[in-house]
Symmetry: C2
Subunit: 452 residues, 2 copies
Amino acid sequence: MVKIAIIGAGSVSFSMKLLQDLNYYKDLSGSTVVFMDINEERLELVYTLAEKYMKETGARLNLEKTTDRKKAIDGADFVINVVKIGGYHNMEKEREIAESLGYYRGFGDRVSDYYGGFAAYEQLKFIRELAKDVEKLAPNAWYMQVSNPVFEGTNLALRETGLKVVGFCHGYLELFHLIRVLGLDPKDVEEQVAGFNHSIFLTKFKYKGENAYPLIDKWIEEEAPKLWNSYEYMISPWEYTQLSPASVEMYRLYGLFPIGDTPRAVSPWWFHTDLNEKKKWYPAGGPDSEIGWTMYLYGLKLRLAQMERLARDPNVSIVKELPVEESMESIIPFVDAIVNNHRRRLVLNVPNQGAIPGIPDDVIVEIPVYVDKNGIERERIEKIPSRLMLYVLIPRWLRMERILQAFQEGDRTSLLLMVMDDPRTKSFEQGKNLVETILSQPWNEEMNKHYK
Amino acid sequence: MVKIAIIGAGSVSFSMKLLQDLNYYKDLSGSTVVFMDINEERLELVYTLAEKYMKETGARLNLEKTTDRKKAIDGADFVINVVKIGGYHNMEKEREIAESLGYYRGFGDRVSDYYGGFAAYEQLKFIRELAKDVEKLAPNAWYMQVSNPVFEGTNLALRETGLKVVGFCHGYLELFHLIRVLGLDPKDVEEQVAGFNHSIFLTKFKYKGENAYPLIDKWIEEEAPKLWNSYEYMISPWEYTQLSPASVEMYRLYGLFPIGDTPRAVSPWWFHTDLNEKKKWYPAGGPDSEIGWTMYLYGLKLRLAQMERLARDPNVSIVKELPVEESMESIIPFVDAIVNNHRRRLVLNVPNQGAIPGIPDDVIVEIPVYVDKNGIERERIEKIPSRLMLYVLIPRWLRMERILQAFQEGDRTSLLLMVMDDPRTKSFEQGKNLVETILSQPWNEEMNKHYK
């Protein structure tokens, strides 16, 4: 059986999802799962939970735990990277600094985590180190990137190693939210999304063999305004991003409906100039506003508290508290498809290899693929409208290239030029001030040296 | 002998340059030169001047004139397009409109002519029509684009016809201004420029076999500040662009020295926020400021008046008034190289075909090539620094693709998205207002219909 290493397993609730899926895909029984984290407390927590879960369910998996990355990787068949270096504290401090310099919600303000050239540094550095370790200790393993930035991270791992690199994101599942709202039976829907991680669009949408885009148009006309004015919508900054005015306007501007985190990540700058403007496009403020993001950070704490309670209290059953069905994450289904030759369609981040014309072959794209023991076969991707290519996908590709170039060449001027490209930058002095102020923070000492 | 058609020959002083060169390259004697223009008055003027010039010099050329484009093209070996549709009047009116809406110096404000999505329309429409006529009437002719926008125009002609397309610009000759100021003998200089038209950089610069960039560094350190403070510099908004603080700062930011119109066309936005800011980078205001551009428009009138006097006054000798040496334009040397197999190195705009890695093969680049009866052979281009690719060349390539896509698909939303990408656009309403106001001008009726 196979060895699966979860790097950053202290992301407790995510690791528990993987464990549930491993239990659900029975043909993976007997596999070895190594939980690895440098945070011993969290590692203990997830291991305790996992043991309890195994006892409750009778799942047959060999569980291991270690703080030694190399030990976890050694001989692994699948290495899953869910690491987020340093948590959110410094990022929130940097956001405050950037706000004081004229950047509302900070510099990496869409999909509020790793999009800026700054905060990406720690993540990219770790991804590079991990991928190089995997290349040495388990050169035939699949390197599986789950934590952000998936787009930049998978491309970096691909460029710096000879590994089989795949990126995972559940964002596209929001498509089924749309399908549900339209009242369609998913079984009769033929769909395809394509683009980059957090920048995917609905390239095919058929219902019972017919083009179903008119059903979206009808929903926009007749139903959407009601939803946007509902109480339920107004108290849910996260829940309805897929169905937001932002998504509808992007569909109008670029010609295809954006899916998942896309209306957050690559929505145009004028949606985001201040909270009032944001509310026009995301009536409850949206996930990346001071409202939505505060809720997210609070939610992380709630989830951790729940996990601690589940681990501590012998009277509480995990199976009863956590849903037993599969999580909908593609990670374990991917492993199962490879290991057990259970061919299935998954939306994954894989090298383009011609799937999207106009994007280089070696750039990672997010598209539907068929996975089995022979690996990955790309679905034929529908033609993407030229306006969408020219105003969304190529600029996003260029941004990835800039972030990687700045990182790989340690190029401080490139960081500055990236900041100068932000529509909120009004002068060279302002841009320079942002770069220098962020880099001179005590926690960024190493990054400050890296960017010459 | 060959037939050369000059379309837009009413650009009198330019046509006279070509005539001088035709006289200089003696092996082209006996060629037929057709002056074509729809402006009969200008056509008469240039024809009168040309006959007078032939008489004075004894040049042996068969001169023809016509207002019929198809007649000029029919059976031509070389079709030279120097047409500027409609002169500058409407462009200046549109600049006023854009200024009133918050766009200092208007929307297409760098290389103050055809860079905006708007003003390009008439030019691109004409280029398409002309190139299609050439394809029909002289399918083996070389289609030679001289008038702007050379970058967009050559790419359009290449994509819409099967013609051999070449673009011409004398901008790169400014390199010899730099060489002269450095006190170097051009004979001992090995140089190479590469990029796109109006976006070229000094990719190789050697003096007597040694890297000569340190000589530029020394000049920047010791001599440039003196020049920038000189009276001569301060009264010459055009003359010294090559040696401006703009060029020096772009060299610092992107790693290679910009040549010719490059410090105008792709200088960063923060050089251009207002006249005071411009003066930091172009101490006399620069060619595209209200100062330099006013001088340019006035200069056009002066030159026309000079030409009219030369034609009118039988006592004035053309040969005495106009320099007799070759003009340094590459157009006739190109014709001579092809026709007479006089192999020579020229800097031309030709399909990339791998010359610059990272740019598609079929995109037109400006690079040194060797020309003879077999056609064009590309010089091997030195590696271009990644920062220059990511912050100048790829964005400029993307802008060309956007301008062509908007034009070819008649895509009004694309025009708007281009405007929204301008750092001066502060809101969607402002951008939309600019597009709609420009398109609703009476002279833009046809363009207004074209962009749906």
